[in-house]
Structures are given as C-alpha cells and as structure tokens.
Symmetry: C2
Subunit: 344 residues, 2 copies
DNA sequence: CTTCATATCGCAAACGTTTGCGTAAAAATA
DNA sequence: TATTTTTACGCAAACGTTTGCGATATGAAG
C-alpha cells in the first residue's frame, strides 16, 4: 500500500494536450498571452488529472514563498487572538500565507522561531518580543537580506524596524490619574520587567500622573513580577503586609489583577472601597470578576491589520526607501466597578 | 539599495575548496562517506561565506517538507495552548517544523486551512474540527496521497483516521452524577451542537446519569448554544424563567458557565444553594469566579504529545499497516465551591 | 502582393539541493 | 606482488516550476 501514484505535473497536462509545459504554466496563472480556449482546456485537464501546483518548485523558481511569518509572545489572550485575526484578514486578502510561531515568553524560543522562519524563507515577519528579550541579533539576518520585519506591541525602541504600538505612557498615565481622581493617594503599581517597552512606558505614565498630582513616589510601591497567576497572589500578599495599606492598585494585566483582587477580597479587603484597582488589556476575565474590572482596552484586530498592511506595503515597493515609521493605535480606559470609589 | 547580494550556495563552497557540490552537500549533513577533515573545512567555509541551506530546494529534491500542520478550532483557551505546547515539544524533538492554522470555529476557514496546508505539502496533519464541521471531504485529499491525519478532541467518529480524545461520556456522566449526589433533582444541561462528538457524548453521559438515578429527563432541560459569552447570559435568562427552577446546571464550557453564574447571581440566585453548577475545561476563569467553579480537567499537553507521537510514528513506518487507533487520555472531575451543596 | 504588428506558443535555462552510481586511491588481504 | 575490499569523492540527473527570448501564424495596413 505504498504511495506509488506519481503526482501529476504540468508536463502531464502538456503531453495530454500536445502543448508545451510553458504554455500550461502560463495558462494556469492567467497569463494574457494564452488563448482563452487553450487556457480552458488546460484548466479542464488539470482537474481531470488531479493536478496540484507544486508550491515548492514554484517557490524555488521564483525565489519567493508568498508567506509571512508571525512570532507572538503568547497565545491565550484574546488580545493576541485579535491581532492574529487582523493579520490574517489582511494577508489572505493580499494572497499571502501565514506561519504562526509561539515563543511562550521565552527568549530562546523566540530566537529559534526567528531563525526557523528565516530558513523557511518567509517574505516578511511580524513579531512581538518575549518578556526577557533584549538582544535583537536574531532579526539581523532579516535586515541583511532586506526582509522586512515589523514589530507590534512588544517592541524594541532602539530598533529601526517599523513598529505598531499603543501609547503605553498615556495608558499608564490615564489609569493612574483615574485612580487619583477617585481619591487614591497611595497607589501600588504591579507590572513586569521594565526592560520591555510596554511596561517601561506604563511605569513612566504612572510616575508622571503621580508627579502631576503632587503625590509622592515610593520605590516600595512598585512591584516587578511576571504577571502570571502566582504573581497575582504574591501581589496581594505584598499589599496586605504593607503599612500603611495602599488605597489603589494599577496592575498591568487583567488576569493578574483578577487573581490579586480575589486574594485581597478573601483577606477581607473591600474593592474598591479599601483599594481601587485598574487592570490592563480588557480580557474577558475582567467582566467575570466582582466587582468588574476597570481596565485599558486596545483593539488587537486593528493592530494586526495595521501591522499586516504596513508589511505588505513594504513588500510591494522595490524601493527600499522605507521611511521608518511608528504607528500608534488608539486605546482607552474602560471604567468599571473595581475602581469606582466615589460613585454614590 | 536593492538586494543585490546573491545567496551563497553549496557550489560556492565547493568552488572555494576545489571539491564537488555533492561532497559539500554530504558534508553538511554528516554523511559517513566524508572525511572528518573535509567536513570540517566545509563547515568552516560555510559559515565564512554566510551560507544558509535552501530548504526550498532541499524540499523539492527530497519531496518532503519536514513540516507538520496543525489546525485548531480556537486559540484562546489554555486547553488549546497546552495542546500546542505538547505537540511542539514532540515535533521539535523529532526535527519537524510546525505550521499552526486557526479555523475560528468556522467550517469554511477549516477547509481553507486544510487545502492550504495540503498545498504547502505538510508531511502530516493534526486537527481539531470546528463546531459546525460535518463534512470531512477536505481531508480526503490527504488520504488519497497517504498523508497521515490525526484528529484530537473534536473528532469525527466515523472517520478512519487516528484520534486522540477524552472519554466525554464518562465526563458527562461524572459531572451529572456529582450534581445528583449533591442533591440535585432537576438538572439543566447547557451545551453545543450535538453533531460534534464531544457534546454528543457528554449529553449521553448526562442522560445515563439521570437514568441511573431514576431522575426524569426533559427536553426542555437541554439548551443547545454556541458556548460564547452571550450564550452564558442567555442560559441564565432561560434558567431564570424556568418553572420550577432547576437546582443544578452542567455547562460544558467554563467561560460560559462563569458568565451564566454571574448573571444568575446578579438576579438573586445563590450558588450553589439554589443552583449547583459544573463547568468543563478547567480554564483559569474557574478559579476567579466566586464561588470557584467545579469543572472537568483534562491535560491538553498530554493530548498534544500523544497526537504528535502517534503522527510521527506513522510518518516513520513506510508500511501503511496503520492500525486505526483511538487513544483516550485521562480526565477528572475537579470539585470546587460552585457545586458543593452539602458541604456543611 | 509585400510589410509589419499582433497574438500564441515553444525552447531551454535556471532555481539549489540530493543521491544513485561510478571511480580512483588507499588499505587490507592473499 | 597481485587481488580484493574499503574509503572518499565526483558526475550528472532529477525534483517541478517559471520566464526571457525567439519563432510561427494570423490579420491588418500599405
């Protein structure tokens, strides 16, 4: 039961029709220099013989793969899922295929994925950096071969690639300012490594909002964690042992915020009366937790579409003028119960 | 600034060393018939010239891609993420690359992905069916070319492909029996289309548990939804208008269960006193909601590993004996607050 | 009836590997 | 020393497309 059947090639079609393989090839791709009639015959015998175009041979000849690679730092957030949907929409419209690689927030896996996609000869790359990625050497090979790379969300600001991001500084500022407006005077920030741009910017926004309101900043109010489930628990424990207790918390990830909130509640803390909480990402969990979580929303689907459009644009133009651009998509604060101290 | 630099090929290496390209090719892949010394020289000049193997040419010649495709019906659940992690672990160990495609629970997208991966000439396929997929013709092309396909979780039982699943009947039975043991006598089942095996089996388990306990079955206690957020709300509304009110609910998706629970609570229903609830999947949200959600846990990572191992096994053996196997991975009921009526 | 433009199509090279087979040299054996 | 085996490597075909260029036939224009 071995696979003995040979694949049918354009030669088989050509032979059957007594024409050349060149004509078949052209006929299959709607080349204008082929008579309607012969093209029709070609298509007919193609399906008759069960022909499938050998993309590998085609890629080899054309020196292109019509494929773009995507590297994401995580998968199970609906932000990322939305981004992927946005990317997919644009790329399929433009006739590109997609290869999605997952780095699991690991620098090593990100490197492996980058070189892997490079060897697979993707025509372009869209990537979001892992949490602990600081070295970008694995993208240098792309630049050397003039393969466009676009970063989204998690970017490296020193890089001269195109980037599509949100205004994390503004978000951090808005979130913090909102807490201040609710009367908070002692606000904790729970976030991830400040080496990653998104957290660095949110941190700055947090500080700027404090400064503007004339509130003191304290190192001990900033908790650098990994934004996992465990992180939520630890953040709660830290808050519980603080003296004086903070009256607000900005936790830059909805899931961690939810876990933290839950842990605080279990220890008798009232949300938002004792501590007001703001998360980040507008994940579904924020609407499940009680009270519902105030958070920052930003449209993943737009980010994906913009990143993909931008990449395809770069692929289209031979001229590598490539004005290095940073695209910023809108974002907004969504106020819900977890932060509404003065609603009465 | 056009990309003028030609790629270096094995010919360039061969020329520089005054040997043949065949020797270079063999040297690069550790062929035993190459002297240590020449191999070393080859590797050295390879990196010196910045050589990268042209996988496309290699694939064309070998008629293999060393790539396996994965089609998932969704992405943003940690079940699927775990499955992908499991698959990735095994496949990378075996030297295969992965292409992940996402069908967004859409039959059309699933078909598109299947033919796309087929044209990309993956060596094998691992897939989970979309909710409304009933026609499997898009996998026929794989069988025709003897490309192994393995289904996981969402499978078609009539198919003669290998499958790796959980015992959904047992899960449904256990969940329902647990509710009965908690004193429930009027149990609602909220689930998705019974054409999909997982929901069909869970439904049967539900019915069998009722029968065994001598409890009556009622069509009006079964709600077929799509297990979205909206579904959770609708399920709650349905339950609220039921007369008499049910005292238990088995909702075959944690997120929907959480939304439903929340909506019920908002309408004055006490969980679990008035209605006990069991979900499915052991998603993170189940530990956030209050009370925490009783659910069914099953290890995605094991499913992924098993599916991948099974596929690679099929790829290894030329002999297509291929005993059609159905592999069942363990699963278990996790009891938490949402169903514990008689904890006092 | 020439001349020329246009419409169709074929030739053959190229893309970069891999690999069956052959061969020369070196080593082992008789 | 003569013969056989082993070692190490080269030749050239094959994988299936795509495409620049040339060739033929057809019709239009003069």
């Amino acid at each position: 039961m071995k696979n003995t059947k040979k694949e049918t090639t354009i030669y088989d079609i050509a032979q059957k029709l007594n024409i050349s393989s060149a004509t078949v090839s052209r006929g299959l791709q709607d080349h204008p220099a082929i008579k309607k009639e012969t093209r029709k015959k070609i298509l007919e015998t193609a399906i008759e013989l069960g022909y499938r175009r050998n993309i590998i041979a085609s890629n080899l000849r054309r020196q292109k793969t019509n494929t773009i690679g995507v590297i994401v730092h995580e998968l199970n957030s609906n932000f990322i899922t939305s981004v992927l949907a946005g990317i997919e929409k644009i790329t399929t419209e433009a006739g590109y295929d997609l290869i999605i690689a997952h780095s699991y927030e690991s620098y090593e896996k990100e490197v492996a994925n980058a070189t892997n996609l490079f060897h697979k000869r993707v025509d372009g790359l869209i990537a979001s950096l892992a949490l602990n990625t600081t070295n970008l050497n694995h993208y240098k090979q792309y630049h050397d071969k003039h393969i466009p790379v676009i970063f989204f969300d998690r970017v490296e600001e020193r890089s001269d690639s195109a980037k599509v991001i949100i205004d994390n500084h503004k978000c951090g500022y808005q979130a913090t300012k909102h807490l201040i407006e609710q009367g908070c005077k002692n606000i904790v920030l729970v976030t991830a490594s400040l080496t990653r741009n998104v957290y660095q910017q949110r941190y700055k926004g947090y500080r700027d909002a404090l400064d503007e309101a004339g509130l003191p900043f304290s190192e001990s109010n900033v908790l650098i964690k990994d934004l996992s489930e465990q992180c939520g628990v630890e953040a709660a424990e830290y808050i519980l042992q603080m003296n004086p207790r903070p009256d607000g918390a900005f936790i830059t990830n909805d899931f961690s915020a939810a876990v933290c909130m839950k842990t605080l509640k279990e220890n008798g803390v009232n949300i938002p009366e004792d501590i007001a909480i703001v998360g980040f990402n507008n994940d579904a969990v924020g609407k499940i937790i009680e009270p519902q979580l105030t958070t920052i929303d930003y449209p993943g689907i737009d980010m994906g579409e913009i990143a993909a459009k931008s990449l395809i644009e770069q692929l289209a133009e031979d001229t590598k003028i490539n004005q290095i651009s940073t695209l910023v998509v809108r974002s907004e604060l969504i106020v819900r119960g977890s932060s509404l101290k003065n609603r009465h």
